[in-house]
């Protein structure tokens, strides 16, 4: 099972997907493309100690965190 975690006002929203189901993976990829298209950064949590920036959808990543666009304060 993979999970996509989107940071939002509620803390986060989690979307699980079945890594063995094609339809489920397609939906997860669609969400990935939609969010990154809006400027979110995708980070594979737990990889390389802290995390790894993802520039494309990877269904083997267990936890993907989506960070909204960053701005100067």
């Amino acid at each position: 099972m993979g999970v996509q975690i989107v940071l939002d006002r509620r803390g986060d929203s989690r979307h699980e997907f079945d890594v063995s189901g094609l339809a489920s993976i397609a939906l997860a990829e669609e969400r990935f493309l939609e969010l990154t298209g809006k400027g979110f950064r995708a980070v594979a949590l737990g990889r390389n100690k802290g995390g790894e920036l993802l520039d494309r959808f990877d269904p083997t990543v267990e936890q993907t965190l989506f960070i909204p666009q960053l701005q100067g304060g």
Partner: protein, 158 residues
């Protein structure tokens, strides 16, 4: 004199980088980095559930050393993934990042945050990952301030 004015503008208004001569200042909404403003921006009105959820996610993604630091001091340190600089992320959502030197002394304050009025834990997690994974990109949009606040600058100037 022009250099002094540049420095003062940088200190008062905030800017992405320190002036290196005749700088231009375009940032319209600088950080408020004194203690009062930091407390105001801590968003204490966020729902307890969202706050707790975000803090749990943050803690899960800290190293043991960072967790210990955070428990003791309400800040943790990260190393910039591209420059190796050290940053201290304090509890807060704005003006809560400090760049420090090898001795842990404050070099400058940095301000950036994610869009969307996120709760404290989420903001801190986003800041940590940004500095570790795409440091230079985020510094390009961040505002930076000298290591003193407006009150001490005013006192110093007098």
């Amino acid at each position: 004199m022009a250099r002094l004015i540049d420095m003062l503008q940088w200190a008062i208004r905030g800017h992405r980088d320190p002036p290196s001569g005749a700088g231009s200042f375009e940032r319209a909404e600088p950080c408020h980095f004194d203690g009062l403003q930091r407390r105001r921006w801590a968003r204490p009105t966020a729902s307890g559930a969202a706050d707790a959820r975000a803090m749990r996610l943050l803690i899960e993604n800290l190293t043991h050393a960072q967790r210990d630091q955070y428990e003791k001091h309400e800040y943790f340190e990260v190393v910039g993934g591209e420059t190796g600089r050290r940053y201290r992320i304090r509890r807060g959502v704005q003006a809560n990042i400090e760049q420090i030197d090898d001795e842990g002394r404050l070099e400058r304050r940095i301000c950036f945050m994610p869009d969307g009025e996120l709760v404290v834990g989420d903001v801190m997690l986003a800041q940590k990952l940004a500095l570790e994974l795409f440091e230079l990109q985020v510094l390009a949009v961040a505002n930076a301030f000298p290591p003193f606040d407006r009150v001490s600058l005013f006192n110093w100037f007098l």
